[in-house]
Amino acid sequence: MTVDMLMDWFATIGDFPILSFLLAVVISGVPLFLVMALNAMVAVYVERKVSAFMMDRIGPMGQGPGLHAGKWGLLQTAADAVKLLVKEDTIPETSDKLLFKMAPFIIFIGAFLGLAAVPFSSVLQVADFNVGVFYIIAVGSIGVIGIVMAGWASNNKWSLYGAMRSAAQIISYEIPAGLSIIIPIMMAGTMNLQEMIHFQEGNVWGILPNWIIFNNPFTFIAFFIFFISAVAETNRTPFDIPEAESELVAGWMTEYSGFRWAVFFLSEYANMLVVSGLAVAGFLGGWQSPIPGMFDTGAWGLFWFMSKLIFLIFVMMWFRWTFPRLRVDQLMHVCWKVFIPIAMFNIFGVGIWKLIFG
């Protein structure tokens, strides 16, 4: 959307189609990257604090002068970032050097492209596709190529194990996630994220906002299936078997250090942002206010979207610091024997519901 608006505006100045396209992409892409970086910085700090509080610790702290991490440890992530950037970038002697160097950026591209379609508010969206949902699901799958590449190129058995597990996991969990995100598409009758959010205006059942999650029991279940599958797709605990510190050192990122590892980290947190954004847009009313008709003008849209997004990211952290890691067979059991049958039943149920009530 931003790209289109910028290009229209450039067209009024002069007729340079390629140049104006490049300019528009850069102008909307740089803030997107900043959002990613800022998100990673804030989320890492919050994650440290949330994990600490859940374990009765207090996390990074520092007060007073010297090498302290600022008030309440607020400078901790800045220090981490500096440390990562000045660290030596090691490449194993026997690795496949080209693939090894490419892998982080492929993962990064997947996360970055996904973020382009996230509707932060009714106007703040880099690209408003008519197939937005499909696009996010599609570019979300690019990441797995990077992961397998990283695992293979590292020439390390832990990395390869991690990569294979990751491939198995992400490919499996895309099925319940896809089957669940079909339900908002069925309800709204569109894949365009903005139109999908516009569909969720008003009330349902008298008091509740007309979000798709509250529309009927099937959508309610579908939201949870989608959200849990999304957690699995971002490789976060309890579905972190590709990383599995206690078994595989760090899985497919074992051999990475310094900046390349920082790119992995950035992409992980950006992926959280993308899948939460899709869940918010598809099920939780996007930038619609929870009280229909109030606080829904102007910047409130951005506020509500970010609040819902932050809440979902917090829930992901909550999951991470509560649940132990699943075994591979348990992971596959949950996906193929529980989520997929229920997701299919949901599609059937929503179809019937729409026939009767819609």
Partner: protein, 194 residues
């Protein structure tokens, strides 16, 4: 089939229980927090002393300290030390039991013993010290002791003496003497003798 749904119910139920527990801990962090911010906050120190009797013989053997004004330079602690971490150099004083203001040497100890030696060097390498306490027993003036405990009145307890450099753990207790001052003590001028 009913087992399938019972399993799902069980899973959701137990997961929710676990999440409630972590939520409760997160909300009660002010009350449940176990971390102490070390330099600002400290655990209370154990009360028990270094002593000879059984009931007060446990121990924070924290750090050796020497009241150098009481030291007569008898080298008994140096000989007692099993790891040889105490090094003492002495110079014979020109006159027994007289102050030498030039090198800030006092003639008598607090017990009234007249000192025959000027201690020109008294170093304890605390990185080698094994805290055996053996040096404190032979001392005739009770001027070398472990700080804290029964000696709290002489020197407050101090068990936090980490340093960035190992040489900083070599404690210098003797007063600094310049080479000229040492020379003057070793080769007294004829007028002083007369």
């Amino acid at each position: 089939m009913s087992k399938y749904f019972a399993n799902i119910y069980d899973t959701v139920n137990t997961l929710w229980t676990g999440m409630r527990i972590t939520w409760r801990h997160m909300m009660n962090i002010k009350r449940d927090n176990v971390t102490l911010q070390y330099p600002e906050e400290r655990w209370p120190r154990p009360e028990r002393n270094i002593g000879f009797e059984h009931e007060d013989y446990n121990v924070i053997r924290s750090r050796l300290h020497v009241d150098i004004d009481d030291c007569i330079g008898c080298l008994k602690c140096e000989r007692a030390c099993p790891v040889d971490c105490i090094k003492i150099d002495t110079i014979k004083a020109p006159t027994r039991g007289e102050d030498i203001p030039d090198v800030k040497h006092t003639g008598e100890t607090s017990n009234g013993t007249k000192k025959a030696m000027v201690v020109s060097r008294f170093t304890i390498d605390m990185s080698e010290c094994c805290y055996c306490n053996l040096c404190t027993y032979p001392c005739p003036e009770e001027c070398i002791f472990m700080v804290g405990g029964p000696n709290s009145s002489k020197h407050p307890i101090d068990y936090e003496f980490s340093e960035f450099d190992r040489t900083d753990l070599i404690y210098q207790f003797a007063k600094k003497l310049s080479p000229e001052q040492k020379d003057g003590l070793q080769n007294p001028k004829p007028e002083a003798e007369a």
